[in-house]
Symmetry: C2
Subunit: 168 residues, 2 copies
């Protein structure tokens, strides 16, 4: 099992995450002959700077502030589509929001643990889940192409807080 759960839910040197993600993005783009333009890189950076999934219009606000000029929705959606194509980010359907992918090079589950309290979201890559879903699909004669797996609940921190307040 591969997960960024601990990183997401605990304090850490976040600038390292961001730098690692951008370096990895640069590699991937070079490899695929794709252009990580200024706009695209900024959107990716904004997603990584956030500890939560961001919606298109949140990205619009932030990019607009960053560039100190108006930014249109199309600009955001185009950047986001590009990053989605390359697997550098994911869309979280239930939130209409986007988040950086912590392991863009590996086959993985698109499995997210979303805290309904604080909004923090961790991704988990888990082969057993993938295998199980594949076998369920096979049995049903369903040709599986992709998947969106979203879990809702309380992250470790918010779970602990709830526990505490109910005890004390």
């Amino acid at each position: 099992m591969l997960t960024n759960s601990r990183l997401v839910h605990q304090p850490h040197d976040h600038s390292r995450c961001i730098n690692a993600a951008l370096a990895s993005a640069n590699n991937l783009c070079a490899e695929k002959n794709a252009r990580l333009t200024a706009t695209r890189e900024s959107v990716l950076r904004l997603l990584w700077q956030s500890h939560q999934p961001l919606g298109a219009y949140q990205l619009q606000d932030r990019l607009s502030k960053l560039l100190n000029k108006p930014v249109a929705p199309a600009t955001i959606y185009r950047a986001v589509d590009f990053l989605l194509q390359l697997g550098l980010i994911h869309r979280i359907a239930s939130l209409n929001a986007y988040i950086g992918c912590p392991f863009p090079n590996s086959e993985h589950s698109n499995l997210f643990m979303i805290c309904t309290d604080c909004g923090s979201t961790a991704e988990v890559a888990h082969n057993t889940i993938n295998d199980l879903l594949q076998s369920i699909s096979d049995k049903a004669h369903f040709t599986l192409k992709s998947q969106s797996l979203e879990l809702f609940g309380l992250c470790p921190q918010c779970s602990a807080d709830t526990e505490e307040s109910s005890n004390g």
Copy 2:
């Protein structure tokens, strides 16, 4: 494993499904002291009549035609919210659409197999998946409350069609 995959993907006496769903809805409402009003029942019926998930504005069109009068979005969203609350329908986040739940009384996975070709959508209830997701959550100290699991691919019929056309 509990699934309506075969029913969804193969010809059958669909009026029976609809009647069964409505009967089950009536029971549930009686039990919970909830009112299955005319609007709510119509929306549920429309969802069951469709072989695919329907969006709010598709429901608006259909209800409007059924009643032969204008229907506002709020009417649809209110009915849909009610039915969601009772577990009589599900929302499919990736499609912004709604679908009748074939087993509203049982604990289940909210796992959907969505055909990207014809749109037909089957629900699967699978304890192993639930257990696995619960154990993953436990390991991550994530307090799991609910889940949305959406699989995209080709239904048996469309898989077969693709196979055929590639062969011949």
